[in-house]
Amino acid sequence: MQDSDNELVQRYLAGEEDAFYSLVSKYKNPITNFITRIIGNYDQAVDLTQETFLRVYKSLGSYRSDYQFSTWIYRIASNLAIDELRWRKRRGLFGRQNASREEPEKETAPEEQLADTRRSADEVLADMQYRKLIQEAIQTLPPAYRTVFVLNAVEEMDYEKIGQVLGCSLGTVKSRLHRAKSLLQKKLAPYWKKI
């Protein structure tokens, strides 16, 4: 994957514009998903994804191939997402965001889920409820913990790569992840008992 990304970058730098759009089509969904889970607002996440690719486009000339391209683009995206959270904090907009309300319409429809005969309607509704709960709980995490948690639990990145994306040590990544999960566990504990 790394080679093909670097190859696309080299092709773009050699003047092949379409190589850039190949990178776009490869990373647009993961980056949109990542930013949405961080900031909890789909429309803003799409804007920030666009901004991420603009920055990539402008600075591809300075990209060093000894880093994985995916690490680099996630780093840009996480910086933009964290900046957005800081901006909201300064403006006092934290309370205004409602993750569930801003959830994109890309989820599996309940009727599709009900088509799975092994699951009851109650289970499907419970699942949807829990998704809403976890998304809301993620939004309450401090940004540093939230980013690590999303990269690990949602994007399924290993600790080392998370450290490279966020520019922090392995120990810091583990400690933040542990703290994030503990906080989530506390927040979701009342619902755990109902299962």
């Binding site: 889970r37 603009l54 486009y57 829990y130 993620i138 999960k181």
Partner: protein, 224 residues
């Protein structure tokens, strides 16, 4: 192994290999501690919930919008001021403009730039020892060779020398007798309304006697 150590290392428990001694100890602890077993289940449940979140996708027209925005940004860069001039020329122009501004500033602030005003300060006056036999209060006629050596502005009182208010700078009031008191001379560069400059040499302390009048305003000029 106790509950605290178990919970602190719960990340390792999930990631480490089963043969790891720590994992073996943790497993033994789980067998005897229902609290930590429940804690582990809850921990795994949170991870499962997060993993189960649906993947969000970019909108279908994402690339079209991105292409449009990139075109707009490129057009903005191209349509900037002086964009038709090559970059190296732009740097040269900026350099030339900076030099022009510097020289203009220097010209405006150079001594005597105000025209017609006496712009030397007495505090910067050049003190010259009195030479024996030299007439005191002499008014030299020659222009000054090095204007920079003289003070920038005279005190206000010296601007209005003579009867009835200001006279031409450099013009010594003809009807005032000036007597040196000894000590040092002070040279002032007086600038005329035109480009002419003149040096007035006077003692640091003078006595002014207005003929026939007793105008106290003269005494403003006694000392500098």
């Amino acid at each position: 192994m106790n509950c605290r150590i178990f919970r602190e290392n719960i990340l390792e428990y999930q990631d480490a290999k089963p043969e790891d001694p720590l994992v073996r100890e943790m497993k033994q602890h789980l067998e005897v501690c229902p609290d930590c077993s429940g804690f582990l289940l809850q921990w795994q449940w949170v991870s499962r919930l997060a993993k189960g979140l649906p993947r969000v996708e970019a909108p279908g027209d994402f690339e079209i919008r991105l292409r449009k925005r990139l075109r707009e940004e490129q057009a903005e860069v191209r349509s900037g001021w002086f964009s038709f001039i090559p970059v190296t020329w732009r740097y040269a122009m900026v350099g030339a403009m900076s030099l022009c501004i510097c020289f203009s500033a220097l010209y405006l602030y150079q001594p005597g730039g105000g025209g017609g005003s006496i712009d030397r300060t007495a505090s910067q006056a050049k003190a010259i020892p009195v030479e024996p036999g030299q007439p005191q209060g002499e008014r030299p006629d020659s222009a000054v060779e090095d204007p920079g050596a003289y003070p920038a502005a005279l005190p206000v009182s010296t601007r209005t020398a003579g009867y009835g208010g200001p006279r031409n700078p450099g013009e010594w009031p003809p009807d005032i007798e000036v007597h040196g008191e000894g000590g040092e001379y002070v040279e002032y560069l007086l600038k005329g309304t035109g480009q002419d400059e003149i040096v007035v040499r006077m003692p640091k302390t003078i006595r002014v006697r207005p003929p026939g009048e007793n105008d106290p305003s003269y005494f403003r000029y006694i000392s500098h």
